[in-house]
Amino acid sequence: MQSRWIAALMLMLFSLPAIGQNRFDPQDLSGFWLSDVGGHTLGTKAPPLTAEGMAAMKGRIPDNLNRLPGNAPWYACNPMGFPRLVLDNEPVEFVMTRNRVLQLFQWEWTLRELWTDGRELPSGDNLENLGPAWYGHSVGRWEGDTLVVNTVGLDERAWLDNPGNPKSFYARIEERYRRTAADTIELQMTLYDPKFYTAPWVGAKKTYKRMPAKDVTFSGWKSLYSGNTDAICAPMNEAEDYNKRIRDPAAFGDKKPR
């Protein structure tokens, strides 16, 4: 009898560290995360575009493995905008505050503010007064342990993804973040944009993994650049120097870049 108690106690003691490692607050997303996003797209086939959607895509030349560089706005150091920046497989830090969740992106060295103070998503005159923004206007709320973020008021000039798909100012994008394990967050994103698309566009589920502490350094997160080797797209570096002196002569020779 006594030996059984001792065995049970031993089992409990050995189990404690394992339990400790797996315990987490599902409503705490703070930390550095890296997603498995590939291809810089929503990850599923786009629904057919409306006539207005097709018109919005006119003139956009995407990159392709078999083609020369396209004319994505970010090559001239314009913001990638939302959701393109979230669709990148670059590190992001989530910061939980009393009234907002902040997303700090290594790429572009910029942030999104997801308001969780109960305010309403802008609509009607409020939205018209705010006007378009590269990262839109975002409101989040908890549905159980899922952080549901809705974003509206997006700038139509920013590409949704690398293929150059559009999204209208009147689009709404819903993100559903769920922390499923201590080191895992799942994201499901859906675009509702009846002006440019004939149906909602449900993206593929994406997974964020917590970055090892050793990968978060002054020289960059995930050995990419930040801090002293920043990822800020500076026109003096990118457009005036790299594009003109290296990329364009290499890609286009004497021809005019696109």
Binding site: D63, N64, L65, N66, R67, L68, P69, G70, A72, W74, Y75, W107, S219, G220, S223, L224, Y225, S226, T229, D230, A231, C233, N237, E238, D241, Y242, R245, I246, R247, P249, A250, A251, F252, G253, D254, K255
Partner: protein, 133 residues
Amino acid sequence: MKKVLAFFILIAGMSTGAATLFAHHGRGATYDMKKQVTLKGVVTEVAWRNPHVAIYMDVKDAEGKVVNWAFENSNVSTLARQGYNRNTLKVGQEITAVVNPSAAGTPRGIVVKVILPDGKEIMSRSSGANPVD
């Protein structure tokens, strides 16, 4: 500056992995990844900045004419993590650079590796140590 015997040799048909060369800068068809060019010459500029470090060098062609080549590299942080910095290569230094050349036929390339006069190889892209995304 000491004159150097400089030359470049085109080696066609060598295959390298191109799949990883496609992230933010869409280099899909910018460089001919099936070719390699060996450049021997003198460094004229080290542009140690993002989005991609670029090294410029004077190379004499077969007729003795000096051509200013440039080849791009990875970003600053990736190179820094491998122990390279803006003083690793200096203006006036003799180097040999192996690059994948521009698809447009211009004197531009993307680094495969740099060979120093003592034979030491640096900034090598092989085995993924120096990705150039």
